[in-house]
Symmetry: C2
Subunit: 148 residues, 2 copies
């Protein structure tokens, strides 16, 4: 059935989307369980998914506390959800990756009047589906390993 992609195809499609898509939905929660969501630009270097946001923002506070994020990319009919541990890096401490991030997203977090931080996510699990028929095989990465 052509509506259901095989795993190798899904992995290829996810890699293309990580390379070409620039915006993600970033949900987060407070310690007391208040859910929040904002869209953020991201970059992907093959290993880390990176976003930047003001250090004092609600999302930064929530992500810092959790140490883990689940981020949604792509349109809702081509869902990609990337989940894993995150590390926070202050813009003032950022290494060379910050140049590449600024180039890709078109916004330099180190040059804002407000203080920014980066969050870098190492994918542990990645899910993807385009329709309900694809739900059974939605995992394309588990425990940090691509399943193709």
């Amino acid at each position: 059935m052509s509506d259901v992609r095989d795993n190798a195809q899904r992995v290829r499609d996810v890699r293309v989307l990580l390379r070409d898509e620039r915006d993600a939905w970033v949900p987060s929660a407070s310690a007391s369980g208040d859910a929040y969501i904002i869209p953020l630009s991201f970059s992907w270097d093959g290993t880390f998914l990176t976003v930047a946001t003001p250090r004092a923002s609600r999302t930064a506070r929530n992500l810092r506390r959790a140490g883990w994020a689940r981020i949604a990319l792509g349109p809702t009919r081509d869902v990609v959800i990337v989940e894993g541990p995150i590390v926070e890096i202050r813009a003032s401490d950022a290494g060379e990756f910050a140049d590449e991030h600024a180039r890709i997203v078109g916004f330099d977090a180190r040059e804002q009047s407000e203080e920014y931080v980066f969050f870098r996510l190492t994918p542990n699990r990645i899910l993807t589906w385009r329709n309900p028929a694809e739900l059974p095989g939605r995992d394309v990465m588990r425990n940090g390993h691509w399943l193709a």
Copy 2:
């Protein structure tokens, strides 16, 4: 500057998107602050934004506890975020709205083997923007009132 819509235009655009868009990102959180996100189809009848999901799902558990939701619609370059109190209704107790919901989303939550529930959100706050220049005027509804 044509990149910044006035408030009346934003309200019109949001109403069109609520009518025509069918998918939303639904973030939620556990009592201990674990954030979660899934896409769900929604319907809008001018008063309530309605979604349906399995009663035993993680999202249902989280939303039930919170009694409040913040749901994201539309592409990340035409952001609409709808926030407000939610009421849960079992599929077996659903009134006529369930017929309309099934017609709009193309999926009848009352006819699934798994037990489904509806969550109906009454918008209290709605935000919308297409670019950073639009952020200052992003509120189009506050305390349940359209600002146009």
